[in-house]
């Protein structure tokens, strides 16, 4: 939750109202095109190799 601001519009009357309020920001952190889990695994393997773990 963050303290954000909404523009609320009434479709019947056209009335507009700016309201400062608590807003739950969407969790849409998925990268472009969705997650590429194969690439993520390859990156992890490369990282572990570079650190000498495997």
């Amino acid at each position: 939750m963050v303290l954000g601001k909404r523009l609320i519009v009434d479709a019947k009357t056209g009335k507009q109202n700016y309201v400062e309020t608590e807003i739950d920001l969407p969790d849409t952190a998925t990268p472009l095109g969705g997650r590429d889990t194969t690439k993520e695994l390859d990156d992890l393997i490369a990282l572990l190799k570079s650190k000498g773990v495997i």
Binding site: K5, L7, Y18, L25, P26, T28, G34, R35
Partner: protein, 208 residues
């Protein structure tokens, strides 16, 4: 020498219904199909003529986190056309969710995009992503929202975000796994105050 008006008249049929120089009848004009835009909308009458009327037209005067449109009735309207021209006020790339009736669960999104140098598609899973903007950049977006025969709501959206140096194309299909009639719509940024001042949202409903 033909004047401009004379030239234009050559493009229209003569009184006998034939075009200039024609002696046969394949292109005979019955006089019933010539129509002009009404010119009484922001869209040059295109959507007015096809039966849509504007019900919402707002321009933000300050940056906001979300835009909410209340007092809608998708069942009665049958379809909504959404036009959203906006700028991302946040410095990083930002997704914008579409929510109905204050419900933030039960959505799934499929996405395709093309940047010119790459294309990608993906099922974004249990999330709503209606449009997308690069950091501090502008986007034009068009969407169509309808209910299915079994009362679920689907929104298809196409967006054209500018990266700062190139155009991109995004398609999103937001499915709401809920049979309630949408009476409220919200476009909510992934980051706070991400919808910049000067952003414009227009919504049209089916006329009549």
């Amino acid at each position: 020498m033909h004047g401009c008006l004379e030239f234009l008249s050559d493009l229209l049929p003569d009184a006998d219904g034939l075009f200039l120089g024609e002696t046969l009848t394949p292109r005979r004009w019955d006089g019933g199909k010539l129509a002009f835009p009404t010119g009484n909308s922001d869209l040059d009458g295109r959507y007015i003529q096809s039966g849509f009327e504007k019900i919402v037209d707002v321009v933000t005067v300050e940056a906001v986190t979300s835009i909410v449109v209340d007092n809608l009735d998708l069942s009665a309207a049958r379809a909504y056309l959404v036009f959203f021209s906006f700028r991302n006020a946040y410095g990083n790339a930002c997704s914008f969710a579409l929510y109905f009736n204050d419900v933030t669960t039960g959505y799934t999104t499929q996405q395709m995009y093309s940047s010119g140098s790459s294309t990608a598609s993906g099922n974004l899973g249990a999330t709503s992503r209606y449009t997308y903007a690069y950091g501090s950049q502008r986007v034009t977006n068009e969407g169509l929202i309808m209910r299915t025969p079994d009362n679920y709501t689907l929104a298809m959206s196409r967006s054209f975000p500018w990266t700062g140096s190139a155009s991109t194309i995004f398609f999103h299909n937001v499915h709401w796994n809920n049979t309630a009639n949408p009476t409220k719509l919200e476009i909510r940024g992934e980051y706070n105050y991400s919808i910049a001042s000067g952003s414009r949202l227009m919504i049209f409903k089916v006329k009549g």
